[in-house]
Symmetry: C2
Subunit: 193 residues, 2 copies
DNA sequence: TTTAAAAAAGGACATTTGTCCCTGATGCGC
DNA sequence: GCGCATCAGGGACAAATGTCCTTTTTTAAA
């Protein structure tokens, strides 16, 4: 549930250190609860998270939110928009304090054109996203909420992060009421078993 | 709902025609209802659909299926598996008679390494898949079935294809019973409005 | 410590969806 | 045409989920 890409992080850190072009990459520090990227907006930077956690979510017209993913170390933001030259699909909001590299989009395009290692990392990243998104969509549609929630709690424990109930509900695509109800049901089962 | 990628189709057709390497690409004709690719299996070919329609679906352990996408002209099959060197995530089954190009995986890797135009097309394709998968997951989780179904019927009409009720239900992630019920509800509304 | 305000949790009811099973339609062999 | 088998459709009930609103808990201020 919390994605990371340490390979990409290493790449960008090396790039900043070694290359003369590294100076075009800015480092930013962002407080928790700040919207880094706004759905529908056009952005000119691609971000790579150096540290911290963000949530990437779609706000639907009916007022509901769906969290696509929680993004951590080494994850990239805005790459789809840069590749396809479209406005942002999602909102991205910081959950913790976040440090991120900001890469101007022309530099991003240049990297793809000239740096095969970067392109390979990017291909891997996109592949992983498709796999995870598809797998999750299937899982959430076809299993009971109780099963999905228990799996989510487990993942959260493993990742050693704390996600608010509201965010977990948005990740599962359900109301907070259902979330609470199912949580209680799970707790009761654990007591009994 | 029915994805196509005419750019990729053009590319591969030109590649077969012009290059000396084109001869390594085989053309296959497959009858309807045949499973091209089996979940969990390892494949050594990447397919690009020249003509016809397939469905790409995940079979969950609880016996239910979830259709990720319907793939048409120019769509590629097995690219994630080749890129990440993993067993197949999905089943892919022909719905109509299908003609497809079969590309050995070593040739696919070679193309990525040596042909920037191909890589660019691939990046675009992967991006599109992420966008569509995410958008759909959000939509299906947050809107009513009735809304989702009416949109699906509309898409089906536009694409001028016929999908079985069973497949549409699997695409929506619901039972056939719910599908029929909602369909009836929609029909009644159309009569009244 | 007390009280008011805000946030979180939960009860009650309506709606949606799944499951199970029956019914009626369709096709096929005789 | 008749009888049988098969399958799609739908009825009935159970389970899951959303909505609305009340109750409880937490927080902060006086």
């Amino acid at each position: 549930m919390l994605r990371t890409n340490l390979q990409l992080l290493s790449f960008i850190e090396a790039f900043c250190r070694d290359g003369h072009e590294g100076s075009k990459v800015m480092q930013k520090k962002i407080n928790p609860g700040i919207r880094l990227v706004q759905q529908g907006e056009t952005i000119t930077n691609i971000y790579i998270i150096k540290d911290g956690i963000t949530k990437c979510y779609i706000s639907e017209e009916n007022g509901k939110d769906f969290i696509i993913e929680f993004l951590g170390k080494g994850e990239v933001i805005g790459e789809l928009e840069a590749l396809k030259k479209i406005p942002c699909l999602c909102n991205v909001e910081t959950i913790s304090e976040v440090t991120a590299y900001a890469i101007p989009d022309y530099l991003f395009s240049e990297l793809i054109a000239k740096n095969a290692a970067f392109t390979e990392i990017l291909l891997q990243e996109l592949s992983t996203r498709i796999i995870q998104t598809s797998t999750r969509a299937s899982f959430q549609q076809l299993y009971t909420l109780e099963y999905g929630l228990s799996k989510l709690l487990q993942l959260q424990k493993e990742a050693q992060i704390t996600i608010s109930k509201e965010d977990m509900a948005a990740y599962l695509g359900i109301s907070v009421r259902s979330f609470n109800r199912t949580l209680k049901a799970l707790e009761n089962k654990n007591l009994l078993s």
